[in-house]
């Protein structure tokens, strides 16, 4: 009878435990990361009694956590991918808006710049039209500055976010290491610490949201977590710290690093993908750097092309034009284009200065200059990794005597070192276009100083008898002695034909008696086919004469004093809008911006598509894991009913045992 009582008791016990497990499941149904548990019942060992094997009841063999490690790992990696895509997509949407919105983007300012220039060119004498042009030029430069600064702010914010995320990741690695320790102790005591395992799985998932990790199971239910190209984050009960480290090539930039328990800090490198960190880092580096370079190159294009023409013009007051916008090769910009590696050889008096020689050839890439010896170097274009001769056949990789120059991709790099030669290991980061969008500014502050006219004009002698005609003329170089004195051509010249095919160029300071120039330019042969450019290139100005001159015919070239209704220089500047001044003559300023915003758009669209795809994947893997590990309340309700009935039945067994015991006792009492 005690056997029956014991069997009943075992039933009561196991049913109670089963009910408790089901209750635990029901109450944890909405806890994130909870895996449903089930009590596994087993038959107690039998007794061999009187030639029979007799059962002894039921027992709970284990409380098992129902999950699937394969699905768990899948969910973790999908979580990483999704978090990365979400971060990237949010940032890209922000950039897409910044550059393409007609208010915040550059295109509105660019087109109003050119259209107000056009209006000023239509009415070169109008101060109002010039004033409007100056305002929109100011607007354009400020837009360059503000876009540049918005990008820098975004980059800095992302940097701060990276630091914050790294700290958060570190707190998860510590939690995982702690849980590893607790789980090891619990496992050693012989049973599965189900809820601790869930908790660690949850922490791993949170960590995976921040950065893509790989998880390898070890003894005693422990895990080893690593990041990037296998750098460890958690080993057993030890947690490593995620932190940031200044980039030695560019100290203003910080990159992700790992601090080991011993305190050694090593950079993670390019292995970080996925997770918020992956998303943040890809925008912070590649995308923003590229955007800054693109903006800078367009700014260089605007300044370079317009200054070149404005410098050859003449303003409303008869003075030669100066720079309209910041000179692309001002000392400050030149200094900002190079960053020396902090570990360069001492004394660090190496000077690597970069001036822009041809805006049209500039790329949007950065360059890395590495010295492999005192006068041997490797110059690499970062965008495609091409270096030296492959980059440009003129790059031999070895330098002549210092100061030496290297010209490539539209820039001229001058290398100097007062204390001697460069040393192997000296490294320089060259960013030819990076900062100019910030540096560009309007250089003209009075409307009268906008140089829309050309400084020279031509006159046909009234008594000419031939039918030759002279062009209006153009200035090609204002640094010649002819333009040395303000407000005049020194000296004015006259072109006098000595026969229909030959001519002299004379000093016309005294129009009634022209004299020979020094050196004389006489007996020149007249090439009749236009454009014939009949003045020597060294003059810095040029005219064409067409038709057949008669002997004695003369034409004069003089300073364009009082030329207020002249827009020749302005017309040339207007032409910049439609000429391909960037990317080796394949892009106009506006189309370069268009291509750039399109790149941003493509990245944005890709990021959005990736976000959608990764969301679907994440939902699927969540569903798959949930279908194994999630709690179904209907199922648990049924279980509760089932175990309740089993409990009642077991109680009934005890009741029967008691009843037969009572029967026996009363029989004995008689």
């Amino acid at each position: 009878m005690t056997e029956l009582l014991n069997i009943g008791l075992s039933g009561l016990n196991s049913s109670r435990i089963s009910l408790r497990v089901a209750g635990h499941n029901v109450t944890n149904a909405n806890v994130e990361g909870y895996s449903r548990q089930s009590a596994e019942l087993g038959t107690r060992p039998t007794e061999f009694l009187g030639g029979f094997y007799l059962g002894t009841g039921v027992e709970v063999e284990a409380v098992r956590r129902i999950t699937n490690n394969f699905l768990v790992a899948g969910l973790r990696s999908d979580t990483s991918v999704y978090a990365g895509a979400e971060t990237l997509s949010t940032l890209m949407d922000q950039l897409d808006q910044l550059f393409s919105n007609s208010n915040s983007g550059l295109s509105g300012n660019m087109s109003s710049f050119f259209s107000s220039l056009q209006t000023a060119v239509d009415n070169p004498g109008s101060i109002e039209a010039r004033q409007v042009f100056l305002s929109s030029a100011e607007g354009l430069t400020q837009k360059f500055n503000s876009l540049h600064n918005q990008l820098l702010v975004l980059q800095r914010d992302i940097g701060l976010q990276v630091e914050a995320v790294a700290q958060q990741a570190t707190s998860y690695t510590r939690e995982i290491a702690d849980l590893n320790a607790q789980i090891a102790i619990a496992t050693n005591s012989g049973s599965n610490p189900n809820d601790l395992l869930d908790k660690r799985e949850q922490a791993l998932n949170k960590l995976a949201e921040l950065v893509n990790i790989s998880v390898i199971p070890t003894d005693n239910n422990g895990v080893t977590v690593s990041v990037g190209n296998g750098q460890p984050l958690v080993v057993g009960t030890e947690a490593f710290e995620l932190t940031t480290l200044a980039n030695p090539d560019n100290p203003s930039q910080r990159e992700l690093a790992i601090r080991s328990v011993s305190g050694a800090v090593s950079p993670v490198g390019n292995g970080v993908s996925g997770g918020m960190l992956g998303g943040l880092l890809s925008v912070k580096g590649e995308v923003i750097d590229d955007a800054l370079n693109n903006l800078g190159r367009i700014a260089l294009g605007v300044s370079g092309s317009l200054n070149a023409l404005h410098n050859l013009g003449m303003d409303l007051e008869g003075n030669l034009g100066g720079d309209l916008l910041t000179d692309i090769n001002n000392a400050n910009s030149i200094a900002n284009r190079t960053t020396a590696n902090g570990g360069n050889s001492l004394p660090q008096d190496q000077v690597v200065s970069v001036s822009i020689s041809d805006v049209n050839q500039l790329t949007t890439s950065d360059y890395q200059l590495d010295f492999t010896g005192a006068n041997t170097y490797v110059l690499t274009r970062v965008s495609d990794g091409v270096s030296n001769a492959a980059l440009d056949p003129s790059l031999t990789g070895s330098l002549g005597a210092l100061p030496a120059t290297v010209t490539v991709d539209g820039m001229t790099i001058t290398l100097e070192r007062p204390s001697g030669a460069f040393a192997a290991g000296d490294r320089f980061l060259i960013q030819p276009t990076r900062g100019f969008a910030d540096e560009i500014a309007l250089q003209v502050d009075r409307a009268q100083e906008v140089a829309l006219a050309s400084p020279i004009r031509t006159t046909t002698n009234a008594s000419n008898t031939g039918n030759a005609a002279i062009s209006a003329g153009e200035v090609t170089d204002k640094s010649t002695p002819f333009f040395a004195a303000a407000g005049q051509l020194s000296p004015p010249v006259t072109i006098r034909f000595t026969s229909p095919t030959s001519y002299d160029i004379l000093d016309n300071s005294n129009p009634s008696a022209p004299v020979a120039l020094a050196p004389p330019q006489t007996g020149l042969t007249y090439p009749p086919v236009a454009p014939n450019g009949i003045l020597p290139a060294s003059f810095g100005f040029q005219v064409d004469i067409t038709g057949t001159p008669a002997a004695g015919d003369s034409f004069s070239v003089d300073y364009n004093a009082g030329g207020v209704l002249d827009n020749r220089a302005g017309l040339a500047m207007v032409g910049v809008q439609t000429s391909s001044v960037l990317e080796n003559g394949s892009m106009t300023l506006e189309s370069a911006y268009g291509v750039f915003t399109q790149e941003i758009g493509t990245r944005t669209s890709t990021a959005r598509n990736n976000l959608e795809a990764s969301q679907t994947l994440l939902e699927q893997s969540q569903a798959m894991l949930q279908s194994v590990a999630g709690v179904n309340l209907d199922e648990e309700a049924a279980r509760l009913v089932e175990f309740e009935q089993a409990y009642n039945a077991s109680a009934q067994v005890i009741n029967v045992a008691r009843s037969i015991f009572d029967t026996l006792l009363s029989a004995l009492r008689g």
């Binding site: 149904a29 909405n30 890209m92 949407d93 808006q97 393409s100 295109s107 087109s111 050119f114 259209s115 056009q118 239509d122 070169p124 004498g125 006219a453 004009r457 031509t458 006159t459 046909t460 009234a462 008594s463 008898t465 209006a472 364009n560 004093a561 009082g562 030329g563 207020v564 209704l565 002249d566 827009n567 020749r568 017309l571 207007v574 809008q577 439609t578 506006e590 189309s591 268009g594 915003t597 399109q598 941003i600 758009g601 493509t602 944005t604 669209s605 959005r608 969540q622 569903a623 949930q626 279908s627 590990a629 999630g630 709690v631 179904n632 309340l633 209907d634 309700a637 509760l640 009913v641």
Partner: protein, 414 residues
């Protein structure tokens, strides 16, 4: 497949959220009418949109330039029209002055009126445009182009500059013409001067030399004629020969070679469109040469001014007076043809602007249509999508409500 309760709720919720996002996005597109807001919405269409917008902006700018150019050219055309009218008046006056019956008073009256016309023309050639810039002084629009010299005559103080405006890609049109090209350097009829040989021994002088038939003289020009006197036996004769080949020149009516012609002092000698008188007594071998003047040019104002002054100049022979009128008429025709040439150019520039404008308008319309196709929303499609989206959202809400109520616990309550 086994479904966890949490997942069932999540899936239902996800459906609701997606439905809402879809409906909101469609609603936003319908509200703005734009399918593509940023390049991220359609990176393939984005560069096309940017290019089309730039194209349209450029065409708008060309339209503005063309309007400015048209205004300037029309002002110039109107001004030249007024100048032409005034010159026609001058021409009428010149013809009136040529009337042989006109007495001195009549000439003086015409001369006074011509002086008025000179002032009128001086005002017109110094016309200013909307920005008070001089129309005809080239680049130097702040400099008055035409001034009367203290020593008589007029001078041009502008230059030969022309303002060009772009009215289409690679098409710059001149929108003004310099006064120098228009009104200066007008060719005036060829003339000659009589020169007495310094070695002449007689007292004869040549006078009242004039071109009486410009066409004949122009045919002879630039040759020179020599009148050689010979005195033999008390009879003075002269012969006229060409300088170029020494051949005898014919003259008189009917024409006959002027060889050994009897000399009568003061008698008109006419040949090759020229007429002159020689008075006094020439010695044997005396020579007079009719030397051609080099081609002369004069400005428009000078031509009218010279006519006005010539009408009242004292001691003008009828032949000289005739030449004055004839020269004035020919010179005026030259001025008028110079102006007409420019007016024709202005007309062709205006035509160019018009046709370019039409072409630009066509391109703009095409660009706008394409832009609309690429960028704008297809409303029919969007609204039908919205209807469908709303329907799906409603269905999701209803099914969520229905399913979320299902639980076994509802039935096992005791």
């Amino acid at each position: 497949m086994r479904i966890s309760t949490h997942q069932a709720f999540l899936a239902g919720l996800q459906g609701l959220l997606e439905g809402q996002a879809n409906v909101t996005r469609l609603q936003e597109q319908i509200a703005t009418g734009k399918r593509v807001d940023t390049p991220g919405d359609d990176p393939v269409a984005a560069p096309q949109i940017i290019a089309l917008k730039r194209q349209i902006e450029l065409i708008n700018q060309y339209k503005k330039n063309a309007d400015t150019a048209t205004n300037r050219l029309q002002l110039e055309e109107t001004t030249l029209g007024s100048i032409e009218n005034t010159l026609q008046g001058v021409r009428q006056l010149a013809i009136q002055a040529g009337d042989g019956a006109l007495d001195q008073n009549g000439r003086e009256a015409i001369a006074a009126e011509l002086q008025q016309r000179v002032e009128e023309l001086l005002g017109l050639v110094n016309t200013r445009g909307v920005d008070s810039e001089y129309l005809f002084s080239g680049y130097q629009a702040d400099t008055q182009p035409f001034v009367r010299n203290a020593s008589g005559g007029f001078s041009y103080r502008g230059d030969e500059g022309q303002l060009f405006l772009p009215v289409a890609t690679d098409l710059n049109l001149a929108v003004n013409d310099s006064g120098k090209a228009l009104f200066m350097g007008i060719p005036i009829p060829n003339d000659f001067t009589m020169q007495a040989d310094p070695g002449n021994g007689g007292s004869a002088v040549a006078q009242n030399a004039a071109v009486i038939n410009q066409a004949d003289f122009d045919a002879f020009y630039p040759d020179d004629a020599v009148i050689t006197f010979s005195v033999a036996g008390g009879t003075t004769t002269y012969s006229v020969t060409r300088v170029s080949d020494g051949a005898a020149i014919s003259g008189g009516t009917p024409p006959q070679p002027l060889t050994n012609m009897a000399y009568t002092p003061g008698e008109a000698i006419a040949f090759e469109g020229m007429q002159l008188e020689i008075t006094g007594t020439p010695a044997d071998g005396d020579v007079f040469t009719a030397v051609h003047d080099n081609p002369q040019k004069l400005d428009m104002l000078g031509i009218v001014d010279r006519l006005a002054q010539g009408l009242v100049a004292p001691g003008t022979s009828p032949a000289e007076y005739g030449e004055l009128i004839s020269d004035a008429l020919i010179s005026l025709d030259n001025v008028l043809s110079s102006i007409n040439r420019t007016v024709a150019q202005i007309g062709s520039r205006l035509n160019t602007i018009e046709s370019v404008q039409e072409a630009n308008a066509d391109i703009k319309l095409m660009s706008q249509n394409t832009l609309s196709k690429v960028e704008d929303l297809d409303f029919t499609e969007a609204i039908s999508q919205l209807t469908q989206g709303t329907f799906i959202l409603q269905a999701a809400q209803q099914s969520y409500a229905a399913i979320s109520n299902l639980s076994l616990f509802n039935f096992i309550r005791s």
